[in-house]
Amino acid sequence: MNGAAQGASVDWAALSPLLALAGGALVVLMVGLFPGRGVRDRVVPGLALLTLAVTAGLLVWQYDTSTDLLEGALRVDGLTVTLSFVFVVAGMATVVMTWRHLDPVESPGPELYTLLLSSIGGMVVLVAAQDLVTLFLGFELLSIPLYVLCAIQLRRRGSLESGLKYLVVGSVGSATLVYGFALIYGAAGTTGFAGIAEAISGDLSSDVLLLAGLALAIVGFAFKASVAPFHQWTPDVYEGAPTPITAFMATATKAAALGVLLRFLDVALLPAAEAWAPAVAVLAAVTIVVGNVGALGQSSLKRLLAWSGVAQAGYLLAGVVVGTSLGVQATVFYLAVYLLMNMAAFAVIAARERETNLGDSVDALAGLGTSRPWLAWPMTIAMLALAGFPLTAGFIGKFKLIEASVASGYTWVGLMIVIGSMISLAYYLKVIAAMWMREAPAGAAAVAATGPRPALAGASTEAQITAPTRHTRRGTGELTVMAVLFGAATLVVGIVPQPLLDFAAKAGEAFPGLF
């Protein structure tokens, strides 16, 4: 037997969550080909949920794994596992939100779930990547399905516009990223993170090629994490995309982008921290200010949450900048918490989109406190948590981030987080005030489904005829349950944060090099 025929050794157990996701995506795609509404409306979403549940189970199984996979292409460790949980939960929530959300005439069914599962797979690859090549492929695997998902409401101009915009901006980000990787490879002579770190520790820390590559790579990630000044696409894309997809992007994509930044900066480039840390700290501060100021004038909830997401990316960057185990824990904890708060908020937005014809405007929430308390309370908790109010999970999360930054000598970044939180109160409270202090506008209860179905974007009027005219009032039961669940989780984590802190500490263990 000669060396060339030797196959790579594969640790199937550690790889199993990823395989489950990829396999599930393909099964969903195939099953979706069967005709019949039952398949489309029940079996396919069910299979998607099953896939995610299996993945979660495998992640529990691999909870304590810490190993390199496939010749160092991937690393399954605390960070991978914890963030994968975040992606999987976000994916489950998205499946539930999507289930009855999109009019079947407006969007394809089964492919949507395939794309969603693949995107989650891409995220797992991304945060597990230990090698520039794998990292880039994970990045694309995450992005390309998302471009399509944004545009999936085929009859809405906004959705198509959102998808195209995301595609263009995302491609610019990818191009920047891959250019940066090329330069880093040129400087370090290897694509493996360990090798890069080793090369930098030598004498490369001020190498101009490396620094240029580093800058470009950070810019590439900044596009994906919507860090200012590379955030401009965020509000438009969030607004145009279907609400479940927006929720997915806001939570899972953010977690993936920040997770990969953690691994990329705090492992591969840690020896060059002097070069990147001040720059990233400034980015964080700028992002906090830009995001919070931008959110002030918004009347669309999705745009508001988009800007708030920009600001939150700034807070999260603080945990990356410090380059300590505490920072990693704080970031992962906040990402998990951010998922809870945002999913609660988006579930409410989606529910109101179905119930009223006001879309995602703040007006759609007016009078919610009296008419729908089960939606109003989760939204209130979510907004308070996003603002960092005590007894909510957001408080503990922000607290950890501030603690991490102050402890590492980045007191001014901690101060920026506090100032940002102050500004943010203005717009979060606006939402709360709308729910509790305003009367519901007359006629707002008119159901969206009775309105005219939007024409196929750009199509002739004849195309309308081919569309079946099935007007069913879409219920919001599962969304209410979801909002209540996530809202309650936000509150519970705020009061009893220890389990989630332990969970985040798991991610911190993945970085033995940090103190």
Binding site: P390, T411, M422, L429, Q498
Partner: protein, 496 residues
């Protein structure tokens, strides 16, 4: 087995709030009964603590349960003289407020739940010996008060509630930053306030200490409020329902000055000593400004609101004088004792004043002092009690506010004679304004439309009489509370 009375005092209202919120709507009488019961249990628990309190120095009866071990956050409650005095004030004011209700109408489930939540938060704040619990309670009071104002307030309530909420929440964020800074400078890192107060981690008045001190000061100054951070107060008071005004002035303002003493004075003594004079000057501005603006008011509630700024100014001067004089000196002791006594006295008297303002507004439909006249004739009980409260508020000897103000003046005089002398000016102005109000609204012939106003009924008397009894008792026999306050070594770690 010892009963954890402090935890009972905090937890029972909290559970009561949850219970009241979850009640079926058809039990209309239940919310009030639950609220009353919980307030009574809470008051009993504080009374039991008072009995067990041995008058010694430092924190006592500390109850500790682990909460977030990763952050060394725990449910730590404990009392010293100041905490106990403030907790007693809190339970008394909440008991009478709940006995009266939010406004003229019967108490709803939401009102009962919010009042109990507010009580639990205030008690947790005064009793907390853990900084995170302290901060959580600090912010939780905001939410409860926000809803009290926003749901039962007057015409412009939403604006006032939002302004109140934004202002004080923005004020609370620097406090958070300060807490984190204190946590990180302590060795080993801890949120335990007993440890931080006994041995202040931040010594000296360098840049770091100054910044931490300033962060706390800004937060507490907004809450107190000290001019120029006072603009939320008149709006909130005027728009709040009677119960809201009473609790806002009686308890919530004290959160700010309590924080000044507990954190700025006890944990950052050196920095406070350095900036004592500017703080005293701000207090002086509050005193004079509050009195002068109150003089120009016609609305009784607004008038009382501005005199609150005036009276809290004395407290600030007292605390600043204590910081400058140092804990060991007689002047410092006098000043801080006076400041805390004034907090209690002002709580009782101002609560009574806001009740009085609410009662007349619910009868006459106006609180305008120019429109009201000769109220003594149709409402002798109301008139007498109002006169008593007015005299107490202007600092008449023998009534509640006199001993505290006297001590503050004595303490401040030893440190800054000029400041003390100017502060007396405020006293003169407030005397003038109360006497003028008394003369205009209560004495003389009543106008036709006021001639048949009914006098106070039982529910109102239940709220008012205990406060008036306390007013007299505190004035006649100050050691009632003063012993408690004086027994505590305020500045155990203070002094050069």
């Amino acid at each position: 087995m010892t009963v954890p009375w402090l935890s009972v005092a905090v937890a029972v209202p909290l559970l009561g709030a949850a219970l009241a919120a979850l009640l079926p709507a058809r039990l209309t009488a239940a919310p009030r009964l639950i609220a009353l019961g919980c307030a009574a249990v809470s008051a009993l628990a504080v009374a039991a603590t008072w009995v067990r309190f041995d008058g010694g120095q430092g924190m006592q009866l500390v109850e500790e349960v682990e909460w977030i071990p990763a952050l060394d956050v725990a449910w730590r409650l404990g009392v010293d003289g100041m905490s106990l005095a403030m907790a007693a004030l809190t339970v008394v004011l909440f008991a009478v407020t709940i006995a009266y209700g939010v406004g003229p109408r019967p108490m709803t489930r939401a009102a009962a739940a919010l009042l109990l939540l507010l009580e639990a938060a205030c008690l947790a704040f005064f009793l907390a010996q853990d900084f995170i619990l302290f901060y959580v309670a600090f912010d939780l009071t905001l939410v409860a008060m926000y809803f009290l104002i926003a749901l039962w307030g007057e015409a412009n309530r939403r604006y006032a509630a939002l302004k109140f909420f934004l202002y004080t929440l923005i004020g609370s964020l620097p406090v958070l930053l300060g807490i984190i800074a204190l946590y990180l400078t302590s060795e080993p890192n801890t949120f335990d306030m007993t440890v931080l107060a006994a041995d202040p981690a931040v010594r000296g008045a360098g840049t770091g200490a100054t910044l931490i001190w300033l962060a706390f000061f800004v937060g507490f100054a907004i809450k107190t409020p000290i001019v120029p951070f006072h603009t939320w107060l008149p709006a909130a008071h005027v728009e709040a329902p009677t119960a809201g005004s009473v609790l806002l002035a009686g308890v919530l303002l004290k959160l700010g000055t309590y924080g000044l003493v507990r954190v700025n004075l006890q944990m950052l003594p050196d920095a406070f000593a350095r900036y004592a004079l500017p703080v005293a000057l701000l207090g002086l501005v509050s005193v004079v400004f509050g009195a002068l603006v109150a003089l120009a008011q016609r609305d009784l509630k607004r008038l009382v609101a501005y005199t609150s700024i005036n009276h809290m100014g004395y407290v600030v001067i007292g605390v600043a004088a204590a910081a400058a004089a140092g804990g060991a000196s007689r002047a410092g002791e006098l000043a801080v004792d006076g400041a805390v006594f004034q907090m209690v006295a002002h709580g009782v008297v101002t609560a009574a004043l806001f009740f009085l303002a609410g009662f007349i507004a619910s009868r006459a439909g106006t609180r305008d002092l120019d429109e009201l006249s000769g109220l003594m004739r149709p409402m002798p009980v109301y008139g007498t009690l109002a006169a008593l409260a007015f005299f107490a508020s202007l600092g008449l000897p023998g009534l509640a506010q006199f001993p505290g103000e006297l001590q503050i003046f004595l303490g401040a005089f030893a440190v800054w004679p000029a400041v003390a002398a100017l502060a007396v000016l405020g006293l003169v102005v407030s005397a003038a304004l109360f006497l003028r109000a008394l003369q205009r609204a209560f004495l003389g012939e009543p106008a036709e439309r006021w001639a048949r106003l009914p006098d106070l009924h039982a529910r109102e008397l239940v709220a008012l009489v205990p406060l008036m009894v306390l007013t007299v008792a505190l004035g006649v026999y100050p050691p009632l509370v003063l012993d408690l306050i004086d027994s505590t070594a305020w500045l155990a770690g203070a002094g050069p």
